[in-house]
């Protein structure tokens, strides 16, 4: 690990300011992903800003009837929150399907959104990777790509976003609230928060230098059946090959976001109009632009079948 200076931030605004104009500064919250990457010298910050003491660990009702989840709320606390369990079951289920108990106790709401891909070539510093070293090439394309993305991919990168939580957030139309170094605030719909890889896969979100996430806001509950179905190589403590996060209403309408298939939580609203016709119709639209590799084309079928299982479960 490279040496770094360390400070404990005194406020969200101060944290943002401390990271302004310093591309080598990083915020640290749970640290479960950042420290992993720092040990491998994939992340090499020269300055860490500890944001754990900022009091952003509350879950509060909004005046609109939704929930404001502080950026520092731990994954365990969010999953265990009584209101989340009752009204946003999809979010609880997604969180509990991810990582281990130890990791969920540290990992935060904002950090979960910002975690980096688990592409093995991103982690292997001996291999080219456009995300780790822009312009060096993509080893996954033409390499072992069973776990990789099938849709929204580019010639520069086929990495997936690893988060389960983000899939639920996308289906629930969450909004990310931030503060910038100049003290201004903005609200970013989750749909716009993560980027597709394009020719700059190292830029993963729309956050600006120093911009700091303060909360994630959920709109009022939408009712329906909340289902998160994750397909993975082990029954527990593994990243998704494919996951489906869905809220299905009694009339068969609903919303669906897919994990394990793209550089960002994958949702196509037009596909949701086809849900009543069944999984094949909806999956056909969801993955209409899929560009799988030989090794991961099974994911296209797997999305359809997993979605079918979710629809069947919703009909119960």
């Amino acid at each position: 690990m490279k040496a770094f200076t360390y400070e404990r931030a005194s406020s969200p605004e101060a944290a943002a300011k401390a990271a302004a104009n310093n591309s080598e500064a990083k915020f640290i919250a749970g640290g479960t992903n950042l420290l992993d990457l720092m040990k491998l010298e994939i992340e090499k910050p020269t300055h860490l800003i500890d944001v754990n003491g900022l009091g952003l660990d509350k879950i509060e009702k909004t005046t609109e009837g939704g929930l404001r989840i502080g950026a520092l709320v731990r994954n365990t606390d969010l999953a265990a929150d009584q209101v989340v369990r009752r009204d946003y079951g999809l979010l609880s289920r997604a969180l509990l399907a991810g990582a281990s108990g130890q990791l969920r106790n540290k990992a935060t709401t904002a950090g979960n959104l910002l975690q980096r891909t688990r592409c093995p070539y991103f982690y292997d510093t001996a291999q080219p990777c456009n995300k780790r070293q822009p312009g060096s090439g993509c080893s996954a394309i033409g390499g072992f790509s069973r776990q990789h993305a099938v849709v929204g991919v580019s010639d520069a990168c086929i990495a997936t976003h690893p988060s389960d939580m983000a899939i639920a957030m996308r289906a629930l139309d969450a909004v990310v609230e931030t503060v910038k170094p100049d003290g201004t605030h903005r609200s970013i719909p989750i749909a716009d928060f993560h980027r597709l890889p394009g020719d700059r896969p190292h830029i993963e979100t729309v956050l600006e230098q120093g911009e700091f996430i303060t909360a994630v806001v959920l709109p009022p509950p939408v009712g329906g059946k909340h289902i998160y179905r994750k397909v993975r190589d082990r029954a527990s403590y593994a990243f998704a090959l494919v996951s489906v996060g869905a809220v299905i209403q009694s009339d068969g309408t609903g919303r669906v976001a897919i994990g394990g298939v793209s550089h960002k939580p994958w949702r196509v609203e037009a596909a949701e109009a086809e849900l009543g016709k069944g999984a094949r119709a909806a999956a056909g639209i969801l993955l209409a632009d899929a560009r799988p590799t030989e090794e991961n084309k099974f994911k296209v079928d797997l999305v359809e079948r997993t979605l079918g299982a979710v629809i069947a479960e919703a009909r119960g």
Binding site: N21, S23, G30, A80, R85, Q102, D155
Partner: protein
């Protein structure tokens, strides 16, 4: 699949971007230096105070020191083990402010004021914690390397169920989670045992929890 032509483009891009990276680095360094001179405490070491097994400790550590290394190398509490050092195996599990965490994936300097419990704080030879005794009784280990993490984790698992924290296998999210074999298995998945003592570990935990295995 990637074509050879695309590979050629990638190599050219590599050269172009490498040059840009060199330029960016030379700009970033003065910025970092500026940030360092304008901030609060900008040393490569930091003082941190926390309690370990009820004893107050004050350390001045290199900022890079993980809680795991602080426990083992600075405080010589070597019961907590370093397995993968990447949060994948659970051998380093300790309890901080009542919660189990991977001590390898957190910096010591992030724990100012915290209360840390390690395996040494649970029980000692001749004065074993009931969970330690149950692991011995049920042969819940072979080589023993993962055992301190397994025991810290299993105690926290029972507390998490008591605190009504649900898990992936909890049937109904709006009901209190219960202690079952399935719940314990799921919740212990962050602790790997390469010797494969899982069934005996489960027996030990279920006995302490007071449920049939």
């Amino acid at each position: 699949m990637q074509t050879p032509k695309q590979l050629e483009i990638s190599r050219r891009d590599l050269l172009i971007t490498s040059a840009a990276t060199v330029a960016a680095t030379s700009v970033a360094a003065p910025l970092a230096a500026a940030a360092q001179s304008s901030g609060n405490t900008m040393d490569l070491t930091t003082s941190v105070a926390f309690s370990v097994n009820g004893e107050q400790q004050t350390l001045v550590v290199d900022n890079r020191t993980t809680l795991l290394d602080a426990l083992r190398e600075h405080l010589h509490l070597t019961g907590t083990k370093k397995g993968c050092d990447h949060g994948q195996c659970g051998a380093c599990t300790v309890i901080v402010d009542g919660r189990r965490i991977n001590s390898c994936l957190t910096l010591a300097v992030m724990h100012d004021g915290d209360e840390i419990t390690t395996i040494e704080g649970l029980g000692q030879p001749g004065n074993l914690h009931p969970m330690q005794a149950a692991f011995v009784k049920h042969d819940g280990f072979q080589c023993g390397y993962c055992t301190p993490g397994q025991i810290c984790s299993s105690l926290a698992v029972l507390e998490e169920i008591k605190a009504n924290i649900p898990s992936h296998v909890t049937e109904n999210l709006t009901e209190q989670a219960t202690v079952t074999s399935a719940e314990i298995r799921e919740r212990m998945s962050g602790n790997i045992c390469r010797c494969g003592a899982y069934s005996n570990i489960l027996d030990a935990i279920t006995e302490v929890a007071g449920v049939p295995a």
